[in-house]
């Protein structure tokens, strides 16, 4: 299992646990403060994205990086450095979002809005990098077309 895969899966598991703890916190908050409290609706997208993006999608990226057909014998997975950039952007973008999204919704300070834009750029770029890295590895074997 390549190093990038190991780190993607480790980070995915951390994100899953953090998301679920965050989700429990949201439900407790709803029970204690009432579901109409504005901080809860502002924080809910963070829960979804930690779960589905940081957890599920990152786990998929890690396994796909490992298991998809190799490009060549010398460079079986393509530009690995770019994969690490995608890994950093994904997790960095999620962290920026987790901090800035609830803050920007409740008190839209310039720093929070700037952080949110940086998070949006990081996450978009991470998705495109992973899509671009996996695309050339979608290939069949000659004569095996079933």
């Amino acid at each position: 299992m390549p190093a990038l895969t190991r780190w993607c899966i480790r980070a995915a598991l951390v994100n899953l646990v953090v998301a679920l703890v965050f989700g429990v916190g949201l439900e407790l908050g709803a029970a204690l403060l009432g579901s109409g409290w504005p901080g809860l609706s502002a924080a809910r997208p963070v829960f979804y994205h930690l779960l589905m993006l940081g957890g599920v999608a990152q786990f998929i990226f890690g396994v796909a990086w490992w298991m998809f057909p190799p490009l060549s014998r010398t460079r079986p997975r393509g530009p690995e450095g770019l994969g690490w950039v995608g890994f950093g952007l994904l997790n960095g973008g999620l962290a920026l979002r987790a901090v800035a999204e609830p803050v920007a919704a409740l008190d839209p300070q310039p720093w929070a809005r700037a952080t949110l834009i940086l998070g949006a750029l990081s996450l978009t770029l991470a998705g495109w990098i992973f899509a671009g890295l996996l695309w050339p590895r979608i290939r069949g074997r000659p004569g095996k077309e079933n």
């Binding site: 599920v56 839209p108 998705g127 495109w128 079933n146």
Partner: protein
Amino acid sequence: MPRLSRYMVRASLVHLATGFLIGGLMLAHKAVPLYPTIPFLLGWHVHALLFGWTVQLAFGVAYWIFPRLSSWGFAHPRGYPELAWAALLFINGGVLLAGPGGLIGGTPAMALGTFLEVLGVVAFGLHLLPRLRPPLPGG
């Protein structure tokens, strides 16, 4: 990787790139209002990333790696590929109808798109059921 898997995985990566772009726009719009219709892209974002990317990628890889049926007397090594091809059409048609179609056609288009996605999941499930097999003795 068989042809159907290649189509499904490629389509899933297109939905991934689209869904991330929409998500990035929606997130940035929370910081600086970009365009009034951006919040209405939420349905497209969800359908592209849940069905177009996650579900379709899982289906594409499952079609590739699940046990083959040649030794069990099936004519095709992957059983009933027609059902899996139907799933490809239903899922992508469904995402297009529920996503960009939903922006134009509203709730009816979203409902029809979601129904097509359900048909896609059912078709692929029917394709996959005969392939849930233990390894053959000595195989």
